[in-house]
Subunit: 354 residues, 2 copies
DNA sequence: AAAAAAGTCGTGTGCGCACACGCAAATATA
DNA sequence: TATATTTGCGTGTGCGCACACGACTTTTTT
């Protein structure tokens, strides 16, 4: 190391400037107590020698402990999905822990806005240096964001893009575009004039913005494509009713005999797959979202034909790293970060589902 | 920091073991000069307290400079592909440079075994601490590997798996499986009884093992699938003849009128796409490999229907990180690392081609 | 003019670890 | 028994940086 290796240290700058390391340090951190004249000189020499701080040493010497808070829905039987971003978050936590940075994970009940409000109040009390959160509850999230802006706490959106606020970054999928990709895959396969079922399965009647966008992209693709005149049948299925989704699906398939494909714009596609299998409808093309366990099983059985993936682990990981880069390393981070739209079939799933 | 923050330091271990930090250090580095009895005790306490070294401090204190060498084919007009792994390598280099680690990139002429031999001789002279290389030339690579084994230099295979040698890791695609994925995509679309053209375009008559495996996977899929009786026509096209590939393709399409799909098991698919476009054969399903620029263009034009990607940037990046993890962080690294088999269509390419 | 305050700047210490050095006890050699 | 040699271990220093402390100079106040 040292200057002979091309690495300029504070010491080298100080020597050349004819001052002490302390003075250079004060200049570097804008901590004042330096005569303007010497400050200028030091700055010049810093530039001239191309000094860049050694991040390793910087981190070791710094007593500042960075605390990052993560607020995401609790993974449960209905939404095992959120385990994946969590994995990524924890991996990031491991990776930055030697840089005086720790990550606290807070979970809220996905469907419950008040639960979210309660959690963010807790988080604010901890005075975090940065926050990653899932702004699925728009109103509450806007309130949260306002508070963080006041306290100048930087924050990152995960999975959903609030589209307003001073977030330093967003990580998630371009929902509309993913619907278009899904449409292309299906339109490749089914004959002209087929019917397509769009099945929106939700915990309650809550169909999220996300899902709407996916559907929109899906339908738009067919609209804009000249050689494909398929008919759509879009239905909402309330999974909190325990005869569902069987009830609704039976009815639909009974009434429409030309349904060649089912598009499920969220991760509950395995519920539809179960129905298809039980009723010997495996030849119906079935496409849904996310590589959660039951979906993967039906894909391997050949009941689900395609899954759209979005690397939720990476999203979780990158969210934390965005905060870290912004605050600790003071690197620039991209604001809009769309994940890949992964197309998963039986033959390539082994290399995604790690 | 310190123990009150849950961070166990050498000092803490030493105190609890009733020895000095020096002794703990000797135990940690297996540097001997410790009585077996105390060694045991220290080891136990390390485990008990869950000590993990602070990588930051470790790196700062270490005077050792790690040099990694990378040996890959030179990217040129025929194989722009190799720019991608290089990008990943350079990104990794940037990321580890504060950890006393530097990366030297050496290029050889892809088609020339002697060029490869010359380069590896140079590399060995530099006494690298680790090597990442592309063992496309089997014989020469085996010789190289032998020399490295003698010098106990760890090495990583990139893109091609030599299947012998003491490599610490391999990064690349499962070629056979990627052929299967390709087959599924095509078989979904084309009607039963169609003909499928398999066009192997190569610089000379050199068809690599890679390509053979992709073809094998492709054909096997159809064999094992019961409801698909397609006919295959497999041809080799020598691109060093400058009337190719037009000449061969014209002939084939003239003789076979039921070709519904073309499978090109490497990145030269854009040459076929150009032919299809010129001859108004866009309706033929066209599938090939790798997201190089001309391929991407034809995908966006709708001439190429699918591309199979393999994240070569990640492969390059991960190869270096494997060496780094192995040598510097002394973490375990997986030996066999198959990349994802990315399925790329017009609608999702924007999120892959960065 | 003396005392207080403010403005500048150098020095020293510690972050957690690696490693050189050297001391003391145990063992070997004479 | 005296003298080498080995074995086992503690101490000290430095990696590049952040920051506290104190010293010295200049300016302000009384």
């Amino acid at each position: 190391m040292g200057i002979e290796n091309g690495k300029i240290r504070i010491k080298d700058v100080a020597k050349k400037a004819g001052v002490s390391t302390g003075t250079v340090d004060r200049v570097l951190h804008n901590r004042g107590e330096v005569k303007e004249e010497t400050r200028k000189k030091v700055i010049d020499i810093i530039r001239e020698m191309g000094y860049t701080p050694n991040l390793i040493a910087k981190s070791l010497a710094s007593k500042k402990l960075y605390r990052f808070a993560v607020i995401i829905p609790d993974a449960n039987n209905y939404t095992p999905y959120w385990e994946k971003p969590l994995q990524g978050v924890l991996k990031a936590a491991e990776e930055i822990k030697d840089f005086n940075s720790i990550v606290d994970v807070h979970k809220f009940k996905g469907s419950d806005e008040n639960s979210f409000r309660k959690v963010y109040a807790e988080v604010l009390k901890c005075n975090p240096d940065g926050v990653v959160f899932n702004p699925k509850h728009k109103k509450a999230s806007l309130d949260f964001v306002k508070l963080m802006d006041e306290e100048r706490i930087p924050y990152v959106y995960l999975d959903v893009d609030l589209a307003s606020g001073n977030n330093i970054a967003f990580f998630g999928q371009n929902a509309r575009q993913s619907g278009q990709a899904a449409a292309r895959l299906i339109s490749n396969i089914i004959p002209n004039g087929s019917e397509i079922l769009i099945a929106k399965l939700a915990g309650k009647k809550l169909v999220s913005h996300h899902i709407t966008l996916r559907e929109k992209g899906f339908i738009d693709f067919f609209k804009n494509s000249n050689n494909c005149d398929c008919k759509f049948k879009s239905i909402d299925i309330d999974l909190s009713i325990n005869t569902e989704p069987s009830l609704s699906l039976k009815k639909i398939f009974g009434e429409h005999h030309n349904i060649k494909a089912v598009f499920v714009p969220n991760s509950r596609v395995y519920r539809v797959a179960a129905f298809l299998k039980e009723n010997n409808l495996q030849r119906t093309i079935c496409l849904g979202y996310d590589l959660i366990q039951p979906n993967v099983e039906y894909l391997n059985l050949g009941v689900i034909d395609f899954l759209i993936g979005q690397k939720p682990e990476d999203q979780g990981f990158n969210s934390i790293m965005a905060l870290f880069n912004h605050l600790v390393l003071q690197k620039k981070v991209n604001k809009l970060n769309y994940s890949q739209i992964d197309i998963i079939i039986k033959e390539n799933i082994a290399y995604y589902n790690l």
